[in-house]
């Protein structure tokens, strides 16, 4: 295989396209194959006969499945995700309005998570194997076991209501961002810190680290300049792999903090049984994950000179 980073990126992009098509197939299956009567599922239990008929015609439910999927893909390619059965607005439009808020929250949470992960990983790796290390592991497991939405409610109760430190949510503002990004970033950061810790402990035992130490490099220089650069690479991969998990947290955090994003939209659609809207958010979330992984691939090319050589 040729070793150019460009080729690597092209392969990864082709790959992202395959995953996207696969994801639309799953979404199609959920919306049009799994339910006994898709029209009924789309319109909800309260729909009358006329609505059901119009939906069947609109969706072409009388045609063969393959043809239906092809039409579904065609509409998707034009950015047409159907219409909400509650507000009658195009789903793509409603999602487009909510997307920036979710992207902002995801980015803020990811930043908090990376800072916590980096600091936590480095702090515990310096004394690997000891009681401090053990405490770090148990601490991280404990944090990861707390339900995000519950932590969010506790945060709102104490920081928002009792101590009046932050607003109680509802609007996109910097102060409103603090709660959800701290809760999400904190739990995700606990996970990252463990990964980084394990990688660091491994790298710190490598011969090149001993060589650096033998040349007289101090502990911190070895840790930050030599060890971290290698140990952080698998972490970058995990950020991509776990991006879907982060969005899970975003859905719940948005609901708790009344953050007007995609997750809250999904929640509202569930309450109204607005299936086109639910399916739209699922597809868009999957595309966001694929997109995040493309960004990760780009980052990889930038920070790892070996990429493309394998």
């Amino acid at each position: 295989m040729s070793g150019s980073p460009l080729r690597y990126l092209l392969v990864r992009l082709a790959w992202a396209l395959v995953v996207t098509i696969g994801a639309t197939a799953v979404a199609f299956a959920v919306a049009f194959v799994v339910p006994a009567d898709p029209a009924r599922a789309l319109a909800g239990p309260k729909a009358d006969r006329e609505t059901l008929e119009s939906i069947r015609k609109e969706l072409g439910l009388d045609r063969p499945l393959a043809q239906q999927y092809w039409r579904f893909l065609g509409r998707l390619a034009r950015g047409d995700l159907g219409r909400s059965y509650v507000s009658r607005r195009p789903v793509a439009q409603a999602i487009g309005e909510r997307l920036p808020a979710t992207a902002l929250l995801a980015a803020a949470s990811l930043s908090v998570a990376l800072v916590i992960g980096l600091l936590g990983g480095v702090a515990t790796a310096a004394r690997a194997g000891g009681a401090f290390d053990r405490l770090g592991l148990v601490g991280a497991i404990t944090v990861l076991s707390a339900p995000t939405f519950w932590l969010g409610m506790l945060f709102l109760y104490y920081a928002g209501f009792k101590w009046r430190l932050v607003p109680l949510g509802g609007s996109v503002s910097l102060a409103g961002l603090i709660g959800p990004s701290l809760v999400l970033g904190g739990t995700t950061g606990a996970y990252y810190s463990r990964l980084l810790h394990v990688n660091l402990a491994e790298v710190l035992g490598a011969p090149y680290i001993r060589a650096a130490r033998a040349k007289g490099a101090g502990g911190w220089v070895v840790l930050w300049r030599h060890a971290l650069r290698n140990a952080a690479l698998p972490l970058v991969t995990v950020v991509g792999l776990d991006f879907a998990g982060l969005l899970n947290g975003v859905v719940l955090a948005e609901t708790v903090f009344h953050w007007p994003g995609l997750g809250r939209l999904a929640f509202e659609s569930v309450l109204a049984m607005d299936l086109p809207m639910i399916m739209g958010t699922v597809v868009v979330a999957a595309i966001m994950v694929v997109f995040a992984n493309i960004v990760i691939d780009l980052v990889y090319v930038l920070i790892d000179p070996r990429v493309g050589l394998q």
């Binding site: 990861l144 339900p147 939405f149 879907a244």
Partner: protein, 267 residues
């Protein structure tokens, strides 16, 4: 061989949970569905007799938590069984046969990994009949990917080992080799994954209930208790604090057990 302390702590917590789940209504001080405090419309804080407080309908929070344990554990464990079954089957087959089979199965896994599991579960529950079985099947369907990846990696490292090659040389069929020779060697990992998966499934179940589409009422569910408590989180925080602690405790129990098992098997 020293068994990691985490295993003991985790296992004891799981035993406590199991005991509460088995005891169910026999352990609860009150009937969880009945108004037992004379305070309809106003949740009252923890006090003698009602140690975790009462909710807006005058029901005892402790009794509801105790009775809810069985459902949470049942959904968590059943969904875990589905997760482990699909995940190990996909991982075993992909890792053992390799080639095109591996490629296709792992691509399918990648596609599933692109979905935030909670959102996909929300969509599935929305198009299916609501009910306990729907919830646990859906949770199982969206959470097997991690198990498949880990099992596949293990199988890949096993398939070229001498005992597997010897099995081939003696004319063993693929299925027999997978079942008799590879599976027993992956079993410890699968056991640890089972514990970790249970923590994930309990968390997902709570998340779904919190979004209002989990196990339908009147079955008591911890996640729904938190959701129902949200309008009262300022005036009656105990309504969300204690069910959250119950979810937290269960997830922590299985997480500690799982991580402890992983540590133990690594040695």
């Amino acid at each position: 061989m020293r068994i990691s302390g985490l295993v003991w702590v985790g296992a004891s917590m799981v035993v406590v949970l199991g005991g509460v789940a088995l005891g169910g209504a026999h352990l609860a001080p009150f009937d969880p569905a009945l108004q037992v405090a004379d305070s309809l419309g106003t949740p009252l804080p923890p006090r003698a007799g009602f140690y975790l407080g009462t909710d807006d309908l005058g029901r005892d929070v402790l009794s509801r938590l105790v009775v809810g344990a069985r459902l949470s554990l049942l959904v968590g464990v059943a969904a875990m069984a589905i997760t482990i079954f699909i995940g190990s089957a996909v991982g075993l087959i992909a890792g053992y046969y390799g080639g095109l089979v591996d490629l296709l199965l792992m691509r399918a896994t990648d596609v599933m990994l692109a979905f935030p599991g909670l959102l996909l579960a929300v969509a599935l529950v929305a198009v299916l009949e609501p009910g306990v079985s729907t919830v646990l099947v859906v949770i199982g369907l969206v959470s097997w990917t991690g198990v498949a990846r880990v099992v596949r990696a293990e199988v890949l490292s096993l398939r070229t080992r001498d005992f597997v090659l010897a099995g081939h040389a003696m004319g063993g069929s693929g299925l027999r080799i997978m079942w008799r020779h590879i599976l027993p060697n992956v079993a410890p990992t699968v056991l640890a994954l089972a514990a970790l998966s249970t923590s994930t499934t309990i968390m997902l179940d709570a998340g779904l209930s919190f979004l209002g589409i989990g196990v339908p009422p009147p079955l008591p569910s911890w996640g729904r208790m938190i959701q129902e408590a949200s309008p009262y989180y300022r005036t009656a925080p105990w309504l969300m604090i204690f069910p959250g602690m119950a979810v937290f405790f269960s997830v922590l129990a299985f997480n500690l057990l799982g991580h402890g098992l992983i540590e133990r098997f690594r040695k």
